[in-house]
């Protein structure tokens, strides 16, 4: 086992613990936005897709590269935009409307 692999394993194991800790307390209404947000984060595979596409030469490599970059970009862009659209609804809430049920009660 070389040094690089050892480093990578260290990051991997530590990231597991951080991943568990960081969302341990989350209210139910945020489950969907949080899922969608993490969904966007794994779009980081776009980095990998760009790496394989950059040096593509054979037709197979080119085909794999262009499809992988397309799919990964869709994941990143769509993921962040759709999450923002969900969360927009949480922020823009109007203050309670001026109805006063107590006074109109007969």
């Amino acid at each position: 086992m070389n040094n690089e692999l050892l480093n990578e394993l260290t990051f991997f194991v530590l990231a597991i613990f951080v991943g568990f800790e960081v969302i341990s307390k989350v209210p139910t209404i945020l489950h969907t936005p949080l899922m969608s947000g993490t969904n966007a984060i794994h779009g980081i595979i776009l980095v990998g897709a760009i790496v394989i596409a950059a040096g593509a030469q054979t037709p197979v490599e080119i085909a794999l590269g262009v499809v992988a970059v397309t799919l990964a970009t869709t994941n990143v862009v769509g993921g962040f935009v759709v999450t923002d659209r969900m969360l927009e609804m949480f922020k823009g809430r109007q203050p309670a409307r001026p109805s006063t049920p107590q006074e109109t009660k007969k």
Partner: protein, 461 residues
């Protein structure tokens, strides 16, 4: 990797973690999304100087980025709020597909005799990425109603799925040990795609959120595995973060439904028959229905009305009509509240988003635990397009697929108005005892039309 790039990846990783942290509290959630997006931009920007781009490389990257951006933005912005859950499934699936393709490309580059520590993560990523891709597409099809939402089962399904999984392990070992067979991973990919489909088919539509969350975690792990193949820290850290937090989130979601993950994933096997016979037994019974005028009078002279919105309200875009009804009732001095089940709509939090869109005041939205004791003091529980979340079978029928799921106690209200398009069972595909209850009145029709009729009837009462 130069020091500058390594530091940029570190910054990106920290931003992802901070973003996740903010995303888990209502206050900072939207900022959290921006924080994570910033991390993504930094990680992508840092990667560029790392590479030697060929002219072809630049062209195909540009093509892919343009198409992906257009599809992503249009898909995410144009989709109706009701269809957002299936969009999430779709975006997750394409990520899994991308991870599998990246691993394929690397495996090809390694040639015939890759080192184990390079080949293993590639094979892992191909399998998990493909399962996630195919599974997400089935989840999308179920939510989009291209496929039936009821579990699709057949005798011996578990055996077949088990054999599929065993075949995948066998092929994986073959690819790792006898890697000189060119393109042997294609068989692996095909098998994994089939397993993805076969795994999601027997799971009911109502459980799709949990499945999507699980597949989301899988994609994260596939991305992390691709990171090992490419020796890229950004992929390893971000993928693992998603894999771990996604797994925990999956558990939290099944907990919110009062079920174990195993029950959600494998519960349909052998249980549907029981539920199906129960449903068949119910077909013969009669229900009461009433006119809009009668119901309008009932509502207008109530003290307290609890509205139980469900997916039927969402598809009919009836959230504005529901608010209008609440407004006319409140003008007459009726107390109106909305009881929001944790999985009302299609996903946790989905209904809150839809009602917020119609400017329903936040303080009228009551979560299940807050409102469940109020039903027995309510004059009317008005069920608008909800079904499974008020089905008493969850409390009383151990054989039912939804047994054990916490439900809203709508059946304890003095009167229940059950608004539904037809007698068809809900998303979980089971009959609802509440429709035959002695206090229950059915009011058939499209949720929006029905609510508009009720508004007119209340005004006239």
């Amino acid at each position: 990797m130069t020091i500058a790039i390594a530091l940029a990846y570190l910054v990106a990783a920290v931003l992802f973690i901070l973003g996740l942290k903010q995303l888990s509290s209502p206050k900072g959630a939207r900022n959290g999304n921006f924080t994570a997006a910033l991390g993504m931009v930094i990680a992508l920007g840092a990667t560029i100087p790392l590479l030697h781009f060929s002219r072809t490389g630049i062209t195909i990257i540009a093509i892919g980025v343009v198409i992906g951006t257009v599809v992503g933005v249009f898909g995410a912005r144009m989709v109706r709020m009701t269809a957002i859950p299936q969009m999430v499934a779709l975006f997750n699936g394409v990520g899994g597909g991308a991870a599998a393709l990246v691993a394929v490309a690397e495996l090809l580059r390694f040639g015939n005799h890759p080192a184990f520590n390079e080949a293993f993560p590639s094979v892992f990523s191909i399998v998990i990425g493909s399962v996630s891709f195919a599974g997400s597409m089935v989840a999308f099809a179920k939510l989009q109603a291209l496929l039936t939402g009821t579990p699709i089962t057949y005798p011996g399904q578990q055996v077949v799925n088990g054999l599929l999984a065993a075949a995948i392990v066998g092929f994986a070992i073959a690819v790792l040990a006898v890697a000189s067979i060119p393109f042997s991973f294609i068989a692996l990919m095909v098998l994994a795609l089939i397993l993805g489909v076969a795994f999601v088919l027997p799971i009911g539509g109502a459980d799709m959120p949990v499945v999507i969350s699980l597949l989301n975690a899988c994609t994260g792990l596939a991305v992390a595995a691709s990171g090992f193949t490419l020796n890229n820290f950004a992929l390893i850290v971000a993928g693992t973060l998603v894999g771990a937090s996604g797994s925990l989130l999956t558990k939290l979601m099944s907990d919110a439904m009062g079920r174990s993950l195993g029950n959600v994933l494998f519960g349909a096997f052998g249980q549907v028959q029981k539920a199906a016979t129960a449903a068949a037994g119910g077909q013969a019974r009669s229900v009461r229905s009433a006119s809009a005028e009668d119901l309008g009078t009932l509502l207008a002279y109530s003290q307290r009305v609890i509205i139980v919105p469900g997916y039927g309200l969402a598809v009919a875009q009836a959230q504005h009509a529901a608010r209008e009804l609440a407004d006319v009732l409140e003008k007459r001095g009726v107390d109106v509240e909305y009881a929001i089940h944790p999985v009302a709509g299609r996903m946790p939090g989905h209904m809150n988003v839809l009602l917020a869109e119609a400017n329903v005041p936040y303080e009228q939205l009551k979560e299940m635990d807050q409102v469940n004791d109020d039903f027995k003091n309510a004059d009317v529980a008005l069920i608008v397009g909800a079904n499974d979340v008020v089905n008493p079978a969850a409390r009383s029928t151990p054989g039912s697929p939804i047994y054990g799921m916490p439900i809203l106690n709508a059946d304890q209200a003095k009167n229940v108005i059950f608004m539904k398009r037809s007698m068809r069972p809900g998303f979980a595909g089971i009959d609802n005892e509440l429709m035959y209850g002695p206090n229950t009145v059915m009011f058939f029709g499209d949720a929006k039309d029905s609510l508009t009729k009720l508004v007119a009837a209340v005004k006239a009462a």
